[in-house]
């Protein structure tokens, strides 16, 4: 493993913009979305009303969170038209661009957990609790089951994602403590604990984007110099390994795992430009003539 901090090589090779392009765009997306929502309550500029659970843009565009609406359906309530239109638009969007684009480009908790991850690295905090990354699907299942059992949307009583987003525009109350809890969990207890292991919202969106065409692909994997930077920065490092290193075993370069958040950070930090945004199609394993695979196996 490189002793240099992840991304140093890329910074040297590609310059600041080249090594931070997708990160910068992602932050811009996250902050712009927050700004759109904040423009109303702060400046009286009502472009968007509501929050991530349901929003109404310019009194014409409804957008509904499919996870909360599914819980409502399971609780035995049939929604009105606008909620249904909104959920159709959102499902179609994330089915195309990748469900967990929500996590990395939209969700405000990502700012919190990325900050925790950044600090964790700076402070050199290692180890911590081990919980399977599959736990989020168990929790997802639990929340759906409890909606059926209780007839109410149980998860919304405690959901840090909607608590933070709603709190920013409607008054946060003690929800900041919940958000701080998520931050401290990620900082001290588990690396990428919330978004990578526990959050059922992300788990749900990964299912929405199960077959999404937009994917990151290790198209230039032949050039990989094993610096390991992509694994260090990736919030879901398990998704990279097979597409990057599995060429010899007949695995194509496209990262097909629905857990990939399409954050694009691996593209930024790779000094060899191994990764690029692409589609899930044409995931062939045809080796480029004359270029030997670098993986010594």
């Amino acid at each position: 493993m490189s002793t240099l901090r992840a991304g140093k090589e890329a910074l040297a090779a590609k310059g600041w913009w080249g090594a931070h392009k997708w990160l910068a765009l992602r932050r811009l997306s996250q902050i712009s979305i927050l700004a759109l929502f904040l423009a109303g309550p702060w400046f009286g500029l009502w472009i968007v009303k509501g929050n991530l659970n349901y929003s109404y843009t310019l009194d014409i565009l409804p957008l509904t969170d499919p996870y909360v609406l599914l819980q409502s359906l399971l609780a035995g309530h049939a929604p009105e038209r606008n909620a249904l239109i909104g959920v159709g638009i959102v499902l179609a969007f994330y089915a195309l661009v990748g469900g967990r684009i929500f996590c990395s480009w939209v969700c405000p908790v990502n700012l919190v957990t990325d900050a925790a991850d950044w600090l964790r690295e700076r402070l050199g905090i290692k180890g911590g609790a081990h919980i399977s990354r599959g736990a989020r699907f168990w929790i997802l299942g639990l929340t759906l089951l409890m909606a059926v059992a209780t007839g109410t949307i149980v998860w919304e009583l405690v959901n840090p994602v909607s608590m933070l987003h709603r709190g920013l525009f409607f008054g946060i109350g003690a929800a900041w403590m919940v958000v701080l809890g998520v931050f401290l969990l990620d900082l001290f207890v588990m690396n990428r604990g919330w978004c990578g292991h526990l959050c059922p919202v992300g788990a749900f969106y990964s299912l929405v984007g199960r077959f999404s065409p937009l994917r990151v692909s290790a198209t230039g994997r032949a050039a990989c110099n094993d610096c390991n930077d992509c694994f260090v920065v990736c919030p879901e490092p398990l998704v990279i390994k097979a597409p990057l290193k599995g060429g010899d075993r007949g695995i194509g370069p496209v990262i097909l795992s629905p857990q990939c958040t399409n954050c694009g950070r691996c593209i930024d930090v790779c000094s060899k430009d191994v990764f690029a945004f692409g589609t899930r199609f044409g995931n062939s394993v045809v080796p480029v003539a004359g270029v030997p695979h670098t993986t010594p196996k």
Binding site: G40, W46, K49, G50, N51, N53, Y54, S55, Y56, P62, T64, D65, V68, L69, S72, A75, G76, H77, A78, P79, E80, N82, A83, G86, I131, S132, G134, A135, W138, I139, G141, L142, L145, M146, A147, A149, T150, G151, T152, I153, V154, W155, E156, L157, V158, S162, M163, R166, G167, F169, F170, G171, I172, G173, A174, A175, V178
Partner: protein, 295 residues
């Protein structure tokens, strides 16, 4: 060897599954208990119009806050986690900001899920809560004053709150105008509570389950059933019998007890029968106390 490995991995799989199931089960238990608590709405929190029962509402409301945004007087808030109201759900506090009873009900129109029932189009039919005159000891009208403020500000005046006169026993010569709330008209908007001039309101709006009694399902109101059926549902009613002194009968026209001189067993005339003008004391031969209607 291979078989042993397989057993180990199968055993490991079962352990892992059990561990996860236990962990998630604990989380579920905590969530379930919390949900039970969240179903109890505190007395001061009133839901917007069209919200239905608390359980239905918590299954239908997706906590988007559109009702809050579209409320013209801006009285709605979304609950935060430290409050005893389900996190993220809308409510208002009548004392500080009652529902303005907008005729077009914009909060309901804004609701994307119908958690606020879109079928409710007449705001006077809404039942957000129910006003209760909780303290007769401090209510100014009960003290004998003509405060009447709750009655005057009520948007369903003379239907939801009526002023019902009764004797003021303290002064002996005045009337108390008691504000009485009728649940068949009260919308629970809370204007009465807000307007009550006391330091702490004597009339308050509570969520309906807290404010309203309920008869057992098996209860039947005899007079209602009789009206519906057009006849008594139990054994035929026994005609009322007067146990009068022998040789006397009761004259309804105003003379009272009179000597029974008519045909034996003749039915008493109906109360609205033309009355013989009765001069007090005219019925001679009777003790004074039994004369006329002076009893």
């Amino acid at each position: 060897m291979a078989a042993e490995q397989k057993t180990t991995s199968r055993r490991q799989f079962i352990f892992d599954t059990a561990r996860m199931a236990c962990g998630v089960g604990m989380l579920g238990l905590g969530l379930g208990l919390y949900t039970r608590q969240a179903l109890a709405l505190p007395p001061a929190a009133i839901r917007p119009p069209g919200a239905g029962s608390e359980k239905d509402f918590l299954g239908a409301c997706i906590r988007c806050g559109l009702c809050v945004r579209d409320c013209p007087p801006q009285i709605l808030s979304l609950a935060t986690p430290e409050q005893a109201i389900a996190t993220g759900t809308p409510y208002f506090v009548a004392r500080s900001g009652p529902c303005a009873m907008c005729e077009d009900i914009p909060c309901i129109k804004a609701c994307p899920t119908g958690a606020l029932d879109h079928k409710l189009t007449d705001i006077t039919k809404s039942r957000m809560g129910l006003a209760v005159l909780v303290d007769k000891e401090t209510c100014l009208n009960f003290l004998g004053l003509r405060c009447d403020i709750c009655y005057r500000v009520c948007p369903v005046i003379d239907k939801a709150i009526k002023l019902e006169p009764r004797h003021n026993e303290r002064t002996g010569s005045h009337t108390i105008f008691e504000p009485v709330v009728y649940s068949n008209a009260c919308t629970g908007c809370g204007m009465c509570e807000q307007a009550c001039p006391l330091k702490t309101a004597a009339i308050k709006v509570y969520p309906i389950p807290l404010a309203k009694g309920e008869l057992g399902e098996h209860y039947r109101l005899g007079w209602e059933e009789k009206r519906k059926a057009g006849r008594s549902l139990v054994t035929p009613e026994i005609e009322h019998q007067y146990n009068l002194p022998e040789g006397l009968k009761y004259e309804f026209g105003g003379r009272g007890l009179v000597p029974d001189t008519g045909a034996a067993g003749a039915a008493a005339p109906p109360p609205n029968a033309p009355a013989t003008p009765a001069a007090p004391g005219a019925a001679s031969g009777l003790p004074k106390a039994l004369q006329g209607n002076q009893l």
